[in-house]
Amino acid sequence: MVMAANKPRSGSFSRNFGAASSSVPSIPGLKHGPNGTMLLSSGIPDLDKILGGGLALGSLVMVMEDPEAPHHMLLLRNFMSQGLVHHQPLIYASPATDPRGFLGTLPNPMVSKDDKSRVHETEQEKGLRIAWQYKKYIGEHSSESHRDGKSEYCNDFDLRKPLERHFFSWKQIDCVSLKESADLAAFHERCSSFLSQANQNNGNITGGRIAIQSLCSPQCEYSNREWEMLSFIRSLKSVVRLSNAVAVVTFSPSLVSTTFSIRLQHLADTLVSVKAIPDEDKELAKLLTGYKDMVGLLSVHKVARFNTQVPTILETTTFSMKLQKRRSLVLECINQAPVDGATGSSYASSGSCSGSSKTGSFDF
């Protein structure tokens, strides 16, 4: 089931996993995952699919930032918005002086009419891009994404519209500025009391969310005390693990020593990195289809492995991040552009979901 769910909108074969969606939400915003885990949505439908359904409750998700581009903010925004839409308690920390201001930039879910038309659009685009022999699978694919929308486990977000006010009126949103706090102990206290409150929610499982932006940024006083940060993450991990929440922490590996960065990567249950792509890279533009719409690359390094020892091996680990119609964030397999003059070679256009963006010319 995990394998089937791994496929993003790759336009290739993908099994309809009806078994998974039959057991869906008794609780809004949560669903059952493999090995007795509960999943909540990352706010990006494609990322959920790649990670096998969503983020497991109790997991620590680390996002490695690109030092020069704010792509990690896209992930954080969708993650937080999705939580607010599901009325899940949220705690957000950032090195900014006024973290509450960030809430104003959260995206709004698309209305269902829009949603339908979007599915339709992708279908049409697919028809253009995908090799003709796979056309018959397209219908199947889009119906699946439509069903997901219906169950409202995961919304599509419109990045241009700010989140509507009535979502904020829901009780528990806590914002913390990491700039002021001299050490992380106080913040850790706050997180654990937040989690214990979220856990006591009349015995219902709701699924809280913790979002920490740019943990190691140099504005913070503790940023040169690496062991303190490590021990914070370690204790955060242990309280989150025993609760029904997910923590997403972004950090910039270039701001810390390599050893420290690897230690953080080991601590993460799910590890993702984002990278911007240069604006005018002609070589890359020639190699990849849809280069113009791409805003960056997302790589999945590690997928949470709870209650099992089997690693999740993805078909490909690098995906392109695109803003569809400048509104919604989608992740796609990287497709190499067909080589000029290679007439009739159906390989070139279809069998090209390569994991690496740097693959050279074809050697057939």
Binding site: L242, T259, H266, L271, Q309
Partner: protein, 256 residues
């Protein structure tokens, strides 16, 4: 001591573990986790034919995780814990209580060692128990708990090693190799490798991740006693594929 007959390449390369006082070091990296080796060794130690007891120090996962994983492999940890054959220290929860009381990391580790020693002594007092295995998952998190003082961690491990001589324990420690790969000054990993009798190194394939081969394994078995009394080391190298109930081991290229 009737251990189960060697059933796969890993068991073969480890040789006969009935001899007392051995330390096994498992090294892994971000791309490929070595947890499955720990699970395998844990299952082996708790095998119904053997009379071993296990003291498990878990820094990385709660008991429920190991319980579910091992149950799929055919080993019921809850029952073993009730039988007192498995003593499980959940350091995820324990650590918190101690830190609140304002103890230093040194105090915590000393107290922890006290617990381990007590557990080992209690286990020894049973007539039927011959052999005790101490498992640490994983050492790098222990270092975080010790606030980066690798000397403290090393002291702890040395004390545990001294138990092997005193009571006939074995020690199994998991650590992450890539954490130490950059620093060239003497580090914890080198010290651990020096202490260990068997080093199991887990790496991804050089060609990247694949669905049917999850990685490769290098077992360095030192101190093999040869008849002349000299010791020599032997290196085994093979690949593996992890499944829920078992792990397939095979030589490179021999997978059908």
């Amino acid at each position: 001591m009737a251990n189960a007959p060697p059933s796969n390449l890993l068991d073969e390369s480890l040789g006969d573990t009935s001899g007392v006082g051995r330390m096994i070091l498992v090294e892994d990296c971000v791309e490929t986790s070595g947890a499955f080796v720990v699970h395998h060794l844990l299952k082996r130690a708790l095998h119904p034919h053997s009379s071993d007891a296990v003291v498990f120090l878990s820094f990385s996962h709660p008991f429920s995780h190991y319980d579910r994983v091992l149950r799929k492999m055919g080993c019921n940890l809850s029952v073993q814990r009730d039988n007192k054959r498995l003593l499980f220290f959940d350091m995820l929860a324990l650590d918190h209580l101690d830190r609140d009381r304002g103890k230093t990391s040194e105090d915590i580790l000393i107290a922890l060692y006290g617990e381990v020693q007590k557990a080992v002594e209690v286990s020894r007092s049973y007539e039927t128990r011959h052999h005790i295995t101490v498992v640490i998952d994983d050492v790098s998190l222990m270092e975080v708990d010790a606030n980066g003082s690798s000397d403290l961690v090393l002291d702890f491990l040395r004390y545990c090693c001294s138990l092997t001589a005193q009571f006939g324990c074995s020690l199994i420690a998991l650590n992450h190799g890539d954490v130490y790969s950059i620093v060239d000054q003497p580090n914890l990993l080198l010290q651990l490798e020096y202490l260990a009798d068997i080093v199991i190194k887990i790496e991804p394939l050089a060609t990247g991740l694949a669905k049917d081969v999850h990685g490769q394994l290098t077992v360095t078995n030192r101190n093999l006693r040869v008849d002349s009394g000299k010791s020599r080391s032997r290196v085994h190298n093979f690949q593996f594929r992890i499944k829920d109930n078992s792990v397939e081991y095979f030589y490179p290229g021999s997978k059908t």
